[in-house]
Symmetry: C2
């Protein structure tokens, strides 16, 4: 019928999607064990890696997949559970910082080792070093094209490298 249905480009997208969502599913289980969602984990990571352990709400939104209202709500929840607190920005009364608390830091410390182990097992450990390097390089090419902000921004997802 429609020959486009067999286009190899669809396979390419499918593989990317399945690899990503499959990996995330593997990781999600461990987050749940520690009463964290994926989004919450990312918020903790971003804050922990930022100078002063803090980020303005808008910047946090820019560094995640969330809208600003999404960030408001996540921070609401995390503030309620003590992982994060809001702090006024002295230089601009419109802004406020989200700051990771000691409890948040501790929680992150509990999750991270297991998380890294899972990433090792289900992703980076599956490929020989040179293949992995090539993979990351190609992903970076796509990422830079598709999401130039992340490339230009202060941080990649995790590392400025």
């Amino acid at each position: 019928m429609n020959t486009d249905l067999d286009d190899p480009r669809l396979t390419a997208v499918g593989l990317l999607a399945e690899a990503y969502t499959g990996l995330m599913n593997r990781l999600a289980t461990q987050f749940e064990e520690h009463r964290l969602s994926q989004v919450e984990f990312e918020v903790l990571m971003r804050l922990a890696r930022s100078p002063g352990n803090r980020l303005r709400m808008t910047d946090l939104a820019g560094q995640t997949t969330l809208s600003t209202s999404g960030v408001t709500r996540v921070v609401d929840r995390m503030e309620r559970s003590g992982l994060v607190r809001r702090e006024a920005c002295p230089s601009d009364r419109r802004s406020s910082y989200a700051v990771i608390t000691d409890v948040g830091m501790q929680r992150l410390g509990e999750v991270l080792p297991g998380h890294l182990e899972l990433v090792q097992r289900w992703y980076v450990g599956l490929l020989p070093a040179d293949r992995l390097a090539e993979l990351l390089d190609s992903l970076r090419t796509v990422r830079d094209a598709v999401n130039p902000c992340a490339a230009a921004g202060s941080a990649e997802t995790a590392l400025p490298a």
Copy 2:
């Protein structure tokens, strides 16, 4: 503080996530122009590629990222907009098929060319052929580990290849 915060494995996950979500954002715009969501597009694709243009609800759930109740609801909506219809399964009265309609096929035909073009521009076209082949190979390795069902199942995301 916590040296794990700089682990390169986090960068690896970050690149995968940003490449994937960034690409999806680019593709989403075009879907909206055709009044389709990403999930609806995937449902149409899966059905169009299946024998008899149909799939049991459960199988459709297995081939997407949705739960069975999620599939029930997507198919509800798509049935309402005429893209899909339900049909009873003669051999098992518990099951029902989702079948893509002519309208659904036509809609898919409208979206697909532009979709492929975008995939070309923001993903496969960014890499030389040999790099792309390596990328897909590595992604397949990860996918097979992380989501063995997809590998074993009747179809990859798009192609059985």
